[in-house]
Amino acid sequence: MSKQGKSIWDTLENIPREVLYGILLVVFVIPMIYPLGLPIPVSANTQKWYQTIEALPPGSVVMIDFGYSGGGEPELGPMAVAVYHHLFRKGGIKVICMSTSIEGPQLWDKAMAELRPEEKYGVQYGVDYINIGYIAGTETAMAAIGKDLRATTSTDYKGNPLSQYTIMDGITDASSFDLLLCYTTGGDQSEGWVRQWYTVYETPYMCSVLAMMVPTMLPYQNAGQIISVTSGAQAGEMETLVRVPARGIKSADVITLTHLLCLVYVAVGNIAYLGKRFSGGSK
């Protein structure tokens, strides 16, 4: 420390992390308790995702991979629920779910508890939707299911034979599906489905991933291998389109405010750094 003590730039540059965390916590908690209702734009990709489902003809079969882990649930869960709302509300769509994540079946149960599909949409497990459970092996599992679903698994996630469910009638392999959706926290899954299903069977495919994974997935979308890539953080947009306000819309306020705080942090950090530099305190 110099004889003159710390300058204001030093103080500003070295704000204790506890202070930074504390401000972030306040900015995070306030909109959770008092939602601000800030506007939510609907991005082109979310719109494309919505339109793709909207264009599915009655009788279409959709495969969903619940490929995320518990850590990613707060981000991806609301998106998965909003899309299920859309599928069930549209009606006439068979929705078959599987998991490439070992936690998938538990997270699917959680999503269903939030959805209450029987109560809200009058759909029935085993007739309109089903979960065939966790299939180990990630890309090997994708390839095996695509080649022969019944040879890979013969029971649903509860251990009941698939043959007892009418939804599974005529479902044999990847060619039985009209659309593939994947929610995942892992690149193995989001990219694996491109390699194992789109490339081999040309199954139309959309995925929702963690926001930080989107740049990795964009080349696939720009090459036409994925119809739409969204991040779980865009769940609010999907809820707006589906008109089922829930966790996604609530978290949009939090995302806006925390991002603005980050911009303020960067600005203050740079003012402090440049102030110190130009006052001769640092090279």
Binding site: I15, L20, Y21, L24, L38, P39, I40, P41, S43, G70, G71, G72, E73, P74, I102, E103, P105, Q106, L107, D109, K110, I135, A136, G137, T138, T140, A141, A143, A144, K147, D148, A151, T152, K158, G159, A211, V214, P215, T216, L218, P219, N222, A233, E237, A252, I255, T256, L257, H259, L260, L261, C262, L263, Y265, V266, V268, G269, N270, Y273, L274
Partner: protein
Amino acid sequence: MSTTLKKTIPVAIVFVVALIVMMDYFIIMPPVDTAGKSWTNTAVRDLQNWGVILTAFSLGFGAVNLFYFHSKHISRRTPNQWQFSLWLLIVIVIFTVTGVAMGPSSDQYNWLYNASYFALSATVYSSLGFYMTSGLYRALRLKNVESGIFLVVGLIVLAKNAPAMAVYFPVLGTWVSFISDVLTTSAQRGIMIGGALGAISLGIRTMTGRETGFLGRLTEEERGGGGTA
């Protein structure tokens, strides 16, 4: 163990399996059945299902190995470790017993998962937000031209990702589209193509026995490098 058993036979198995899987993808080998599928289709289907079963088995094997490893810490009372090992084994037993007795889709198992692992997992992941914010404050600084470019691009993307900001400043959408569709995509494609070429090269080396990492520890002689072990 002889080199034949340790290297030649495993490499031959890998070579044959890889060849069948690739043949199934690229060519239709006669005889073809009434559905237009060749014999390789059935063979690959079975191989893939073996893969699924082996992966599931390895999960169970991993749990057994975990038990073995942590039991040693407990019996040796390894300082600052054995208590955690004991707790880990207790948790594994609770989850396993509940899952086997009540079923992995039972309310009891789901409660256990939601009340413990899920809550902890989401908390740990969410705590990253705090570290990232602090990191952002200290690291994203205008130190030179490169960091300046990084700073500007970072700020644009950060601002656009705030939903309300994208509404009030629609131009951010155009800028971010350019960044993601042109800059990011081109850089990512380069990385992906490089990775894919590397994977092909590794595959060929593994098939031909030049890459022996998957066989575990081999002597120089077993690896085919000659010399004494």
